[in-house]
């Protein structure tokens, strides 16, 4: 039944020796911006301070309402736990963030993360729906931004890179969008990848 790609003017697809494929391991990873560690620490400290405020209010309530005296023993534990949390949230970014990184290749964009549970994700440009940069008030203060590359379908299929320099994030976004257009327009695949990568890593 002549129906499917066989009889299309299709691209030629010769057998490729699998071992000869470019490996996503052999790329040069770009680290995130060095300021991102302090930015994350600042965010975590702000969050912990909010937690402290909530526990403080709870403490005041428990201390002044005699009926609640029975649950008073929880409070020291809560304080202790949130102090541990504070210490952890200052320490963890120092370990975690240097292990994150991204890489821009000719056909796809890669992101790696994780200390104990490590992962490497890759999105080919011709699957990208759109790309977006954005930042929170704290990130703005540090001059940082995140880049999100959206694919079709579920949110799990998107790629998000936090902690980029604002200008760099914007350049990356323009590069990705340009790449997407280049991939769309099959005839004009003359996007100069080398120079674009040069700009990005500059």
């Amino acid at each position: 039944m002549p129906r499917f790609p066989e009889d299309l003017p299709m691209f030629v697809n010769p057998e490729i020796p699998i071992d000869a494929l470019p490996s996503a391991d052999a790329v040069e990873w770009h680290a995130l911006d060095a300021r991102f560690v302090r930015c994350r620490q600042a965010r975590n400290i702000v969050r912990t301070l909010i937690l402290f405020a909530i526990i403080g209010v709870a403490h005041a309530v428990v201390a002044n309402v005699p009926k609640l005296a029975d649950v008073g023993w929880v409070l020291p534990w809560l304080w202790a736990l949130s102090v541990v949390r504070l210490a952890w949230s200052v320490y963890w970014p120092v370990v975690d963030i240097p292990r994150r990184g991204y890489a821009v290749r000719d056909k796809d964009i890669l992101y790696k993360a994780g200390v104990f549970w490590r992962s490497v994700s890759a999105v080919p440009y011709n699957r990208v729906q759109h790309a977006e940069t954005g930042n929170s008030p704290i990130e703005r203060r540090f001059g940082l931004a995140r880049l999100t590359v959206f694919t079709a379908g579920t949110a799990a299929g998107d790629l998000r890179i936090d902690g980029l320099d604002e200008a760099n994030a914007e350049r990356l976004r323009i590069f990705v969008v340009g790449k997407v257009r280049g991939e769309d327009d099959l005839a004009a695949t003359t996007v100069d990848a080398e120079s674009a990568v040069g700009i990005v890593s500059a």
Partner: protein
């Protein structure tokens, strides 16, 4: 219909809008509950006012439906369909033919008598709930379909015009659908679990029955305990039977006269006893093929197949349920393989989607460890420690939980397996039954490889393959294989000149 002015559908579309208005009300459950409660209070005090309220409510419903009908207008243009609707909030929907992925129709009993259908468009954009044309004639739909077919489809050039019937379900098969519904088993087990809860009532009933019986038949009284057990068993069987019957009835309502056809480059399935639904899905739009086989289905050697097209759903979150997916409720092995061959075309020739194929490669047995450790050992040890301090050494029984979890984890590991050729990836999972997911490499949206500390030590990795319709995860395969697979998928996705959607 070539005319430039706007058209209204037949007045019978009022019923469609009435249905949607009621549906909208039911969705706002809080409103409904509040008004129902108010009504109840009113009925108790002023019957007349309550009756008037009900009448006014019904009239309002009809008026709203009429208004919605009146303001619903459409127009068929050179390259698309325009729909203008809304009473207060006006919206205009512009569906271009080249964006329409398929036309589905739905025919309720009333419309069937009157020879009308409701058309639903599946578009790549998030048209969602709005792409409807209620109460139009089948001839109009046929012309629409012709228009759609006339659109040049870039990825499927020389589509055969022939229509081919792939599957027709007779009464026996539809009955089987009802019998094999896994929900029956689940509900029955739930019923079994609840039976002891009603034990006291059974006992009373049994006592009364036994009293009655002992007067007439002294023999039965001697059989007392046995009779009690028999009552419970009979009751359980009764519950199962009722569920089975209900399930068969539902199956007939949904799948009576099921027919699956291939029309050129699209699959078309139609079925239904009262309301007939007709779903058309273009082959090239299908992203993922899912084959399920429950326990009972396995015994009957049947499968349930789902083909998911790229949804026009929201960019974030889960794929919505109401996507027009192609469902083959029951199919033998040969039909399943035939469907696979048709969906994948010349690609993926060397894979199978039949769950019990010997070619499936197992994943590493280390996959059993994490669930046993985190769901089994950790909670069991904590529970055992707590219970032992409170009630003595009897608490050690909690450790039995580990055995249960280990058994489940082993069984799940045995179900897992994967298979791939140069074009397609197939992953099998399940617990009692099987679930097989298959997708073409070139339709992959994102791929990631992850490693836990255990996996790193054992040189294993997990591959997550994200598709436009969800994701497929290959856990605990050899690290080198995982990386090679990822690199190959990236190569296929980036180099394929065929559109993925």
């Amino acid at each position: 219909m070539e005319a430039d002015d706007w058209l209204r559908t037949t007045p019978l579309a009022v019923f469609f809008f009435l249905g949607r208005t009621v549906k909208g009300l039911v969705k706002n459950f809080a409103n409904m509950a509040a008004s129902a409660a108010g009504l109840l209070i009113l009925i108790k005090q002023h019957v007349l006012i309550a009756a008037a309220g009900v009448v006014i409510g019904l009239v309002a419903l009809v008026v709203v439906a009429l208004l919605r009908y009146w303001f619903f207008q459409y127009r068929v243009e050179e390259n698309g369909v325009l729909v203008r609707q809304g009473v207060l909030k006006k919206t205009q929907l512009d569906m271009r033919f080249d964006r329409i992925q398929g036309i589905s129709t739905e025919q309720s009993l009333l419309y069937r008598v009157l020879g009308l259908v409701t058309v639903r468009f599946t578009t790549a954009g998030a048209a969602g709930d709005e792409g409807h044309l209620p109460a139009v004639t089948p001839e109009f739909v046929a012309r629409l379909r012709q228009r759609l077919d006339a659109q040049p489809a870039p990825q499927v050039a020389s589509s055969a015009d022939g229509t081919e019937t792939l599957l027709k379900l007779d009464g026996g098969e539809v009955t089987r659908i009802g019998l094999t519904d896994p929900r029956v088993l689940q509900f029955a087990l739930l019923g079994a679990a609840l039976t002891p809860a009603f034990g006291a009532e059974f006992e009373n009933a049994y006592k009364r029955a036994a009293d009655l019986a002992s007067e007439s038949l002294a023999v039965l009284a001697n059989l007392g305990p046995l009779l009690g057990v028999l009552t419970v068993v009979a009751l359980f069987l009764g519950i199962v039977l009722v569920f089975l019957l209900g399930s068969v009835v539902v199956a007939f309502l949904r799948y009576h006269d099921y027919e699956l056809r291939q029309e050129g480059s699209a699959f078309r399935a139609s079925a239904g006893l009262l309301t007939r639904k007709d779903v058309t899905v273009d082959v090239s739009k299908i992203q993922q093929l899912t084959v399920r086989q429950g326990l009972v289905m396995r015994w009957m050697q049947r499968h349930r197949v789902q083909a998911l097209p790229a949804s026009g759903g929201p960019a974030e979150g889960e794929v919505p349920d109401d996507v027009q997916k192609l469902v083959v409720p029951i199919a033998g092995a040969q039909t399943v393989e035939d469907l696979r061959a048709r969906v994948f075309g010349s690609e993926g020739r060397r894979v199978t989607v039949l769950p019990r194929d010997s070619r499936f490669a197992p994943v590493s047995p280390y996959a059993i460890w994490p669930p046993v450790l985190w769901v089994g050992v950790a909670p069991a040890v904590v529970a055992a420690a707590v219970v032992t301090t409170m009630f003595g050494s009897a608490g050690l029984a909690c450790l039995g939980w580990i055995v249960v979890v280990a058994a489940i984890a082993c069984q799940r590991w045995r179900r897992r397996g994967y298979l791939h050729d140069d074009d397609a990836l197939v992953f099998r999972s399940g617990f009692l039954g099987y679930r097989v997911e298959a997708a073409l490499f070139r339709k992959v949206q994102q791929v990631s490889v992850s490693q836990s500390p255990l996996q790193r030590r054992k040189n294993l990795a997990t591959v997550h393959v994200h598709l436009a319709t969800g994701s497929v995860t290959l856990p605990y395969i050899e690290c080198a294989t995982a990386k090679r697979l990822r690199d190959y998928i990236l190569y296929m996705a980036a180099s394929s000149r065929l559109a993925w959607h």
